[in-house]
């Protein structure tokens, strides 16, 4: 732990990453206090100030109905982080259970579970989420479900591969010899060895969930107006390119800042937690 902290803090890139992630979390947590126009997160119409370029009054400009972009971006972070949190609370446990059981039990269980995983993995990620959103109503909850459905198989694969490797290790054989139950071996002996890889993947995925969620809403299949969302803001803005460039550029940058931050931290974390 001390070593992890040391390495994270001694690498300028991961420090930058921590700062960016901290900034995003700060925005999301204290949106009500730092957003200059908190009510602009909702369905406010303010045509008198529509389409304004960045100015001291509206630091990042306003959108087509006159809402402050900065305020909307800050609130959009709240939605994005919330969504990532929910997906990463649901998807990894499902994947871990699949991977552990398939990898440890083996045989037909392995075959069936991993073929199910393969089926999910052979539909390109965004396309699966799109298809699911296609048959459901585009709401925040459904978007989370769709993203979760495309996310868990990656954890199943990861944990499966580790489990297959650990299964033949001495400590597992030793536990089997003294008659430990299968559940005990899977969750008490093997699972702890999957934790570093899973934690690294979760850090990186925090960024990627934000990225995929913004892609869904960019296509109009995610969070619906007037809820502020980075993807739909970009999508809306593209109609006013190049004159009202700030409407697309700033929400786009906001996505990059968040995802880049998580990637920087995850990248260094991977070097520390999985040295091989």
């Amino acid at each position: 732990m001390r070593r992890t902290t040391y390495i994270l803090l001694s690498n300028p890139l991961s420090v930058l990453g921590l700062l960016l992630v901290g900034f995003v979390f700060f925005c999301a947590s204290f949106a009500d206090f730092i957003a200059p126009y908190p009510d602009h997160a909702g369905a406010v119409i303010n045509f008198a100030f529509a389409n304004r370029p960045p100015s001291p009054e509206y630091l990042l400009g306003t959108d087509v109905v006159g809402r402050d972009l900065l305020s909307r971006i800050i609130y959009a972070y709240r939605i994005a982080l919330g969504m990532a949190l929910v997906v990463l609370l649901i998807a990894p446990p499902i994947g871990i259970a699949f991977g552990l059981i398939a990898g440890y039990i083996g045989g037909w269980t392995d075959f069936v579970l991993m073929r199910i995983t393969d089926i999910f993995l052979s539909i390109p990620p965004l396309v699966l989420a799109l298809a699911i959103m296609g048959v459901m109503e585009p709401t925040l909850i459904n978007a989370m479900l769709a993203v979760t459905a495309m996310w868990w198989p990656w954890y199943a694969r990861l944990v499966y591969n580790i489990t297959r490797g650990e299964k033949v290790e001495g400590y597992v054989l030793a536990a089997e010899v003294i008659g430990a139950s299968k559940t005990h071996i899977m969750f008490r002996e093997i699972l702890p060895n999957c934790v570093p890889a899973v934690v690294t993947k979760m850090t990186l995925d925090f960024g990627y969930v934000i990225l995929i969620a913004s892609s869904l809403s960019f296509l109009g299949l995610g969070v619906q107006a007037p809820t502020p969302d980075l993807g739909s803001m970009v999508s809306e803005g593209t109609r006013y390119l190049p004159d009202s460039w700030w409407m697309t550029v700033f929400p786009g940058l906001a996505i990059v800042i968040a995802v880049f931050g998580f990637n920087l931290v995850g990248d260094v974390l991977r070097d520390v937690l999985e040295p091989d």
Binding site: L13, R115, V127, L211, S215, F218, T248
Partner: protein, 340 residues
């Protein structure tokens, strides 16, 4: 011989997975709350129309029978009628798929041609400034969705510096007869080299936007693989025999690292197919995405199922091709007896 057997084995298992995909997507499409026929026809349709639609879609049969009917049609190349375009789904897909495929293939090419050398460069100068630069830049490219890159590239290279066209596949003034649907092939077939150049000119920006995160991804993987290769005794031996660093990088580290990188690039093809949706929207590219988003918004079940199936099939075929390339490149697989 073993390469051939391996290929057959992959084809077989891909077919099973594809059947699984068809089930998954079919059941997702049928378990939605509400009456698919009603959803398809909209709230203003009469009860008779809905009843008739239920009949056409076989919705009155048990779901297993529905799936069986669907599969027997599929084997005959029939995916049903699109409610969105009122044409057979197959016809629609045949019209839109080539444009998407062309874009994705060019992006995949860029990914390999730019990503692998960047990764190799990074590994070769590990810990030095070229490595740090490549690492930061590639991390940045994977940190933005394709549509953000598309918007950025359009702003810079189409609006501020009008070097590239913003939309379309070819100059409006050119009329190229459709043969394969692949613009690069059709222009050449028509003997219009100017048309070919125009098509390339139109493709560069969208393909680059689509490939940017893939370039980053493949560069990062190649770097990691090469560093792992560098730690192997074979490299130490090459160093012990005084081979030059450049030669070691090219011949001894790059080639073995290419093999795992290629496998992953095959998987990244999935991301390209998905992200093509985002890029096509920005560039008004007449590919699957416009159709796909259209049918999704219309709840056009036949077309949704067809679109997902065709994309998954493309992805699986791409992976079989990559797997084949890998087994040709890797003597250990090529010469192995059991081929598994």
């Amino acid at each position: 011989m073993s390469v051939f057997r391996r290929l057959l084995w992959r084809l077989g298992s891909s077919l099973i997975v594809l059947i699984g995909v068809s089930m998954l997507i079919f059941f997702i499409a049928r378990i939605i709350p509400g009456d698919p026929a009603r959803i398809a026809l909209g709230p203003r349709a009469t009860e008779e129309q809905v009843a008739q639609m239920r009949e056409t879609l076989n919705l009155n049969e048990p779901i297993i029978v529905q799936y069986g009917l669907f599969m027997s049609d599929l084997v005959r190349g029939d995916l049903g009628i699109s409610l969105y375009s009122n044409r057979p789904v197959m016809t629609d897909l045949a019209e839109y798929l080539p444009a998407t495929l062309e874009l994705v293939l060019l992006a995949g090419l860029m990914m390999v041609v730019l990503g692998l050398p960047l990764g190799a460069l990074s590994a070769r100068y590990r810990g030095l400034w070229p490595d740090n630069l490549v690492r930061v830049v590639t991390l940045l490219t994977v940190s933005a969705p394709a549509f953000v890159w598309a918007v950025g590239l359009v702003l810079v290279f189409a609006y501020f510096m009008p070097l590239f066209p913003i939309t379309g596949r070819i100059a409006d003034t050119m009329n190229i007869p459709r043969l394969t649907g692949f613009m690069l092939i059709d222009t050449l077939a028509a003997g219009r080299f100017d048309g070919f150049l125009s098509a390339v000119h139109h493709m560069v920006l969208p393909a680059f936007a689509l490939s940017l995160s893939g370039i980053g991804q493949s560069a990062r993987l190649t770097r990691a693989n090469m560093i792992a290769t560098y730690e192997q005794p074979a490299i130490e031996m090459a160093q012990a025999y005084g081979f030059s660093e450049g030669r070691i990088a090219r011949r001894y580290a790059f080639k073995p690292s290419l093999i795992p990188s290629l496998t992953i690039i095959g998987l990244d093809f999935a991301a390209l197919l998905g992200n093509a949706f985002l890029v096509e929207v920005i560039f008004a590219w007449p590919g699957l995405s416009r159709y796909g988003v259209g049918v999704i918004l219309q709840k056009d079940l036949n077309a949704i199922v067809g679109t997902v199936l065709i994309i998954s099939a493309t992805f699986l075929i791409a992976n079989i091709i990559v797997d084949f390339l890998v087994s040709v490149l890797n003597p250990r697989i090529r010469l192995s007896e059991d081929g598994s």
